[in-house]
């Protein structure tokens, strides 16, 4: 079964990232790279991506002629996706165990961040439209 692990964050949490020491940031990235390698070797990873910071985000709608209207203003309380992993595992417990590993990535003080990771199943096909 495929599951997606979503790492969400508020814009305010991304900004101090630039204030992390290089050493702390290297430790954080090193931790993520090690998990990535481990999941590649176990054959459980399907895809993983890290997104650009929220200041690059735009909200796009089609106007009445189908042309894009872009907006860069988001509510303060909005959660932004920072990155995700799609994994293919036997049980949801295994998905939660991997999410817990990622959750414990080291923070600016070197201690586990224990950040919240949203876990949801990925649909393997489009929902049937009955046709």
């Amino acid at each position: 079964m495929k599951y997606i692990l979503l790492m969400n964050t508020m814009k305010a949490n991304c900004e101090p990232l630039a204030g992390w020491s290089q050493k702390a940031f290297q430790a954080h990235c090193g931790f993520m790279i090690a998990i990535d390698k481990e999941l590649r070797e176990s054959g459980e990873i399907v895809a993983a991506e890290g997104l650009s910071f929220p200041d690059q985000a735009r909200l796009v709608r089609a106007d009445k002629d189908g042309l894009p209207i872009t907006d860069g203003i988001f509510p303060e309380g909005k959660e932004f996706l920072a990155g995700f992993w799609i994994i293919d595992v036997e049980t949801k417990e295994r998905a939660y165990a991997i999410a817990a590993r990622v959750s414990a990535a080291p923070g600016p003080d070197g201690k586990p961040l224990n950040m919240p990771i949203e876990v949801r199943q990925v649909m393997s096909g489009r929902p049937s439209s009955g046709s």
Partner: protein, 130 residues
Amino acid sequence: MKYILMMSGTKADVEWYATWSKEDLQAHFAFMHAFNKELRDSGVLVATEGLAFPDEAKVVRAGKNGEPITDGVFPESKEFLAGFWIINVDSPEQAYKLAAKVSSAPGRKERGNQPIEVRPIPGGPPPEML
């Protein structure tokens, strides 16, 4: 450059789909199928996924021994990712154009077009940080 197009909504937005007629849903899915085919045929599609409904979502944190602590309670206002497309295009304008197209998927007129969040996907962290 890779871009992600994200379609999100609150739990109430997702439940609203259940009120659509079969014809409306079929028209919506047919539009999405055609959009995916167009992206695939033009060679810009990297990946696309539709996620399970928010009632299946859990938030997981590591406990003090690294064990998973799961919670299924989210604030009413939380936006859930419903699905995404990753595309590889030459300019942000092209990404916005494709987002506008998926934004205009047929739905119910009273809600207007669906907002789509668009963000670049960088190649990775800056090399000096590794």
